[in-house]
Symmetry: C2
Subunit: 339 residues, 2 copies
């Protein structure tokens, strides 16, 4: 095991290989699948055997990146020369495939998560990079392989989903420079926008509406809360997963610094997702309830009735706002900063 | 009057000038104000006198780009050496300032609207460019003036609003390359995302919810319609302007190819906004009712009761869908194309 290897070293392992298996993380997002699809295609185009090994389904909105390289059959590729995990740096992110992964003659990890530790034979983990797709782009270039339109579209999907369309703080100059290069590969960025963002289920629109009907502002309009109950999701005939995203809408309200979204998992068990806008540290609030996450995005689980959970978290958020705003003067500064 | 001049020629006129007045269009969007603010700042930083002349207010969400250069006093700058209109290529886009504009010793127009015609002494109109802010960026570089952080943030705002965060079909490789350069100027892209997108009024959220409650799918789920009445906006205490954007949410529904949003301006007078996703030409539908616009975004005004307008447009959209889909097989192809 090494600390980070160079992309040159990693590229050499891939170029030396005939059979390569790729391992994106479970519950794939656009970056995991985009980076894996892009790399797999570039390797196949170069005459190598390459497959993407999965243990759960491809989300609907990413089906357009399924170029026919995926399999759930762990035995499909016998004794791969290289097993490479993509956008994940710990085996619990591909638990049912971990054993297969270590059957590779060589193992590689490429990732950009800060929590990842080198655990493969060759590792490239760079938390300063917005998307693993950017690392894969540079790796493909390092190997002098071709970035064709499909490869480009897969990598572009990774970059634009992980940067929130170049809005999130992780976006760098490099994200734009790589994207500019992908245009040369002939990507159809409009098609990808349609696939990713203009493909929302009707039920998701409806449940989001019901959730936003529960909107309550507190802490002088500096915090806001919405919730969803099991009754609500059943009435709209949706899964709890379809409610994702509501917390961002709440955070986007003018003046709101902390947004809380409470989901009733089952009677007596709720999950809270929290977002902070400019000031505030929701990671700190979540940690007080045994949860975790980042400064601007965090979550926790509470074993209590949903009404009780709403009141409990409201008090915790109010206390946090008071703490960070300090005096009345501090509150004023905070307010001005938000606008 | 000339056809397009070079940016070099236009830059020379600005460099020769001591007093410059800038004219963004009425009802400013992020590109009009961003391009004007960025150019004004670069000119001021170079020691020139420059003002942005306005005839209507700066929208709330763009106030952060008000660097103190704006005035409504048309007489503030006596006999400007250069008057330059930004992001507009016809005087009806700055009607109350048109006379003042032509008092400039020289007049310049920089714009990217396809409908614009050269009408100033010097013109640079390029419909192939995603945002006028991109033209202004190249103009500033041509003049060898500095792009400081504030200039960069103004230009970045123009690019990301006019490209829908690099999603719209007008986005080019150049949009990303210029943005990459703006990162070198030290822009805070996260701050701009907060200003532009995380600053939505509570009332806008509420009226949007009410509008989406009216959602109706038709044409076999391939088209959808929402509406808003005067009663609804009054009940939520919002202006009709706060309802903008609802038509995009409707277009984003899976399977929907044409979205229609009907606004009751007053009893017996409605305005319809329409969007097409991948197939369909809403410009054609709007034109049949005396309206206009583009293939993917268009609108028209109908002098009838809102219920009647809904029925009338529903029939028109159904007929259009039938026309473009032709046979049952055509419809199938269209469906596959959308997914």
């Amino acid at each position: 095991m090494n600390e980070n290897n160079s992309l040159k070293e990693i590229g050499e392992q891939l170029l030396d290989a005939k059979r390569i298996a790729l391992f994106p993380h479970i519950q794939m997002d656009g970056d995991a699948f985009g980076a894996a699809s892009g790399l797999c295609r570039a390797l196949r185009n170069s005459g190598r055997e390459a497959v993407i090994l999965l243990e759960d389904k491809i989300p609907d909105y990413l089906q357009f990146l399924d170029y026919g390289y995926c399999t759930m059959e762990q035995e499909q590729m016998e004794a791969p020369d290289v097993c490479i995990c993509i956008d994940c740096g710990e085996t619990k992110r591909f638990p049912k495939r971990a054993e297969t992964f270590f059957h590779g003659k060589k193992t590689i990890c490429v990732d950009h998560h800060a929590s990842s530790q080198p655990f493969a034979d060759y590792n490239y983990i760079d938390p300063g990079v917005a998307a693993t797709a950017e690392i894969v782009y540079r790796l493909i270039k390092e190997m002098n392989l071709e970035v064709d339109r499909e490869t480009g579209e897969a990598l572009f999907t990774g970059i634009c989903t992980d940067t929130g369309n170049f809005q999130y703080s992780n976006t760098t100059k490099e994200s734009h420079l790589i994207t500019a290069d992908l245009y040369d590969a002939g990507i159809d960025h409009t098609k990808i926008a349609v696939e990713l963002y203009q493909n929302i289920s009707l039920n998701k629109i409806r449940i989001t509406n019901r959730i936003l009907d529960t909107l309550e502002l507190f802490a002088g309009g500096r915090a806001a809360m919405v919730y969803v109950t099991q009754d609500m999701v059943q009435a709209e005939n949706v899964s709890m997963e379809e409610t994702e995203g509501s917390v961002d809408t709440v955070r986007n309200i003018r003046g709101v610094e902390i947004a809380v979204f409470i989901k009733e998992r089952q009677p007596g068990l709720v999950k809270a997702s929290m977002r902070a806008k400019t000031c505030g540290n929701v990671g700190e609030i979540a940690a007080a309830f045994g949860g975790g996450g980042h400064v601007k995005a965090a979550g926790c689980t509470l074993e209590m009735d949903i009404r009780q959970a709403c009141e409990t978290l409201k008090k915790a958020v109010e206390a946090h706002m008071q703490k960070i705003e300090g005096t009345a003067e501090g509150a004023q500064t905070g307010r001005a900063g938000g606008r």
